[in-house]
Amino acid sequence: MGLLALFKRQPKSANIAKERLRIIVAQERTARGGPDYLPLLRRELLEVIRKYVNVDPEAIVVNLEKEDGHEVLELSVALPEKKPAAT
């Protein structure tokens, strides 16, 4: 171990745990309450889109928003940037 490493503060493991939990809990809470078919819908959409465009699995976001009385199903697909050389 170098001398510098002695002075560099290691983050405490409890803080790491808290940060990781904060993120995963927030993420799981947004998914909660939505219908069970959302993950499947997302996967099938991905398959269809991939027949035409090679998108990243992370590029599809399916969101269900509740707005006073009605629900909005929001789909967002980030298409890959066009490569100049592609013909």
């Binding site: 405490k12 493991s13 409890a14 803080n15 745990a17 808290k18 990781r20 939990l21 904060r22 995963i24 809990v25 799981e28 809470r29 909660r32 309450g33």
Partner: protein, 270 residues
Amino acid sequence: MTEIIVVTSGKGGVGKTTTSASLSSGLARRGKKVAVIDFDIGLRNLDLVMGCERRVVYDFVNVIHGDCTLKQALIKDKRIETLFVLAASQTRDKDALSAEGVRKVLDELIADGFDYIVCDSPAGIEKGAHLAMYFADRAIVVVNPEVSSVRDSDRILGLLASKTQKAEKGEGPVKEHLLLTRYSPRRVAAGEMMSVDDVKEILGIDVIGVIPESPDVLSASNAGTPVILNEASDVARAYEDAVGRLLGETIPLRFIEEPKKGFFARVFGG
């Protein structure tokens, strides 16, 4: 007025049964008439922790199936006059419990004038856990200050908000509380364990008790005595405080800070 309390957690081994045994004993010791029910069908254990395993003749499923009366199945505690245990069945049939059957038993307990019905939930989110929480007025979510337990607790909070009778009928939310177990103030001070405030902040609900890590818990279950009855133990005091808070008393949290060492102890190590 009967209050139905579910003791739940999602994750196994965090102290649900220890907590059910101690809270029900604590409530009964204060003169409340209490029934504590083991919902862990197939893996009966509350009877061992309560020390009445040799007196189980009939169980929860026997009552539901009409093999016996509820009175025959309720085991009267030998230490506390107003405490009764309903043991889980050892059957391997997963469908032994039904919502209608559970409702029937709870209704009969309510008609019998019980003040509290404590439902000791099994781990997981399967049928037993679902039915243990379904009729609850109040939930005690037992959590260890550890990542998997906290995440599972959040999952359970989601189920409490959607898969309970109150939620389905729109009768308002089930009252939710956290109870932290196996808490080590020393490790929290060293930054090795999440603190009460950390867990509270992540899950966003109030804390009804913090139980310190202690060998007394194992000794109590070895002996079949709810740990709250071990007057000499900090664990018993922490559970007793939680009972007080359940009954609406305002009691500050104890045992969440490392005991201060005296000068000599610090110099000579002790």
